[in-house]
Amino acid sequence: MASVEFKNVTKSFGEFTAVSDVSFDIADGEFVCLLGPSGCGKTTSLRMMAGLETPTSGHILIGGQEVTHLHPKDRNIAMVFQDYALYPHMNLADNIAYPLKVRGEPVAQRHARAKQVADVLKIGHLMDRLPSQISGGQQQRTSLARALVYPAKVYLFDEPLSNLDAKLRLEARGFLNHLQRDMGMTAVYVTHDQAEAMALATRIAVMDQGHIVQFASPIEIYRRPATTFVANFVGNPPMNLVEVEGAQVEGKLALKAEGLAIAALAMTDAIGKALAASGKLTLGVRPEHLGIAQTGATNTITAPLFANENMGPESLVTIDRGDSARVTARIFTDDHLDLSKVVTLRFSTEHVHLFDSTGKRIPALGE
């Protein structure tokens, strides 16, 4: 196992800059997820670690060794591809053992090792089959086995679960989590699915337009998203963002918006700075921190009911503030919610997030 380092890495394809001056360190034994929408540069970053793309500028180090211009075969890494890339003309045994074959291991030894890994992944009984003769979930595990069959410095995953159906994906995710706990491998995992990143990563790098927006632990990213982009990307459903007008009134911060009633918040230096730039702030509240208001609640937001979706253990209640500015509450009840045409949602000020006019987080008191 080894660490991975990016130093001012930039990758351009002609006019288009896929990755822009990105630097980060991944420590030995970390499981890092690169999370972001398509086209944000996460896959390009991963492929540069693998050596399948060469950076336009900057340096990449694996285990402290400069690998920027090293051929993939000389990096001693393992990678699981989105489409699995199982060789259709080889049976499972040969597929899994292929990395050992190119390392010159004798047939008997490499097949024994392949069987050993396959057994762990519960595909040991399929070794004679061709990839086309097994299910999607089994194909996914075969590609995983081929990556695990040799001791690599770093394990790279390029959206390895995106071709599975929802149920299998959950199962495979749990298995990967278990594997990471077991092996303590250094892994870099690309995904656009925030739940996958939250479940697997020791740290998440959220990427947008070629930049890393936030690089922190899942809990940190959930609790203190650095920007409205991160806030909107992590969490399901995502954080509600309400555009508000902020002003300092009697030494406190007063927030105003249509249908919003909120007690004045304590001022901080950071808030003062943000207000000096612009009074247009964004108020963020996660759906799980909203409830149906009883009469007399102090912090509320009111608007006509848009949708009321019962999902079993919880209900999603959405209100429409006009111009498609909707706010969704996640209510944990398995009862049917009987709601009037206009709904008032309540929240607590300790669960609100504030962002300045550029979308950057304004640190709360004590952060």
């Binding site: 050596g51 399948l52 890494i77 591809f81 489409d83 890339a85 060789y87 190119v102």
Partner: protein
């Protein structure tokens, strides 16, 4: 589902029309089903009485006729090996390398290959072969066809390789394979169906060709079946029907067999501009 009466009639009419057209297409070929097995065959359609293989015996007794089939085979196989190998390498390079000017090369090849047809270029081809001292050799036919069929073969194969995910070779290289290993262990076996299609297509083209061997070859010992078949004419220029029929059938068999093979193996999908 119940069909309305007009729809039902319409469907029958469609089937009848399709069958009729099929029958019209079959008519000129019907003769070949009977004449080869009829020792007294003439140009008319007649059931053999009795069915016999005597025409075939005569053909196989004719050493010149057998030699010609063998010549066809040498020329077709030789051409196909060249086309298959050169087209595979070139198509792989066009698809997987980032050589500058790749697009321009492709465009120029496509242009030239459609402009320079055998019937338009027969004079310079004859002159090149004769300048190279290859006149009246198998190699003349093999090289000419390899050059002529290559552009199309390259495009068929390049499209095929483009449709294969790059992750095959990428995963091999990440796992430690050199580019050469990745090509032979992974890429080549995956491309193989495409190569088979190109090889079959090339074989059928060379095997059936008439004009190029007709102008490039002179001696009987080098003639392929397509030209040698004209030896089954009497001194007066009238065909010896019995032998022609049997020989035509034998000569057509490889083409029929390859067609059946391709349609069994790949479901005779449509693969681009099939004929040169």
């Amino acid at each position: 589902m119940k069909l309305t009466i007009p729809a039902f009639v319409g469907r029958i009419a469609f089937s009848a029309l399709a069958a009729l057209i099929g029958a019209i297409f079959a008519l000129p070929l019907l003769w070949f089903l009977f004449a080869p097995f009829n020792a007294r065959a003439e140009l008319g359609l007649a059931l053999p009485d009795p069915w016999t293989l005597s025409n075939f015996v005569t053909v196989f007794g004719n050493s010149y006729a057998v030699q010609a089939l063998w010549n066809s085979f040498i020329q077709a196989v030789g051409g196909v090996i060249l086309v298959g190998a050169a087209a595979t390498l070139a198509a792989y390079a066009l698809s997987r390398s980032s050589i500058p000017g790749k697009g321009a090369v492709t465009y120029i090849l496509l242009l030239f290959s459609s402009v320079v047809s055998g019937s338009a270029a027969m004079v310079p081809i004859f002159l090149i072969i004769s300048a190279a001292g290859l006149m009246d050799t198998h190699l003349a036919v093999i090289l000419t066809f390899a050059g002529g069929l290559l552009p199309t073969a390259m495009f068929i194969l390049r499209d095929f390789i483009d449709s294969i995910p790059k992750s095959y070779e990428e995963s091999a290289m990440v796992a430690g394979a050199s580019p050469v290993q990745a090509f032979f262990d992974v890429a080549l076996p995956v491309i193989r169906p495409g190569i088979v299609v190109v090889v079959v297509w090339g074989f059928v083209n060379i095997w059936g060709s008439f004009l190029i061997p007709f102008i490039l070859l002179r001696s009987d010992s080098n003639m392929p079946a397509s030209v040698a078949i004209y030896s089954f004419y009497s001194e007066a220029g009238t065909p010896i029907v019995t032998l022609l029929a049997a020989y035509s059938l034998i000569y057509s068999l490889p083409v029929i067999a390859l067609y059946l093979f391709v349609s069994w193996k790949f479901g005779f999908r449509f693969f681009g501009g099939i004929k040169a």
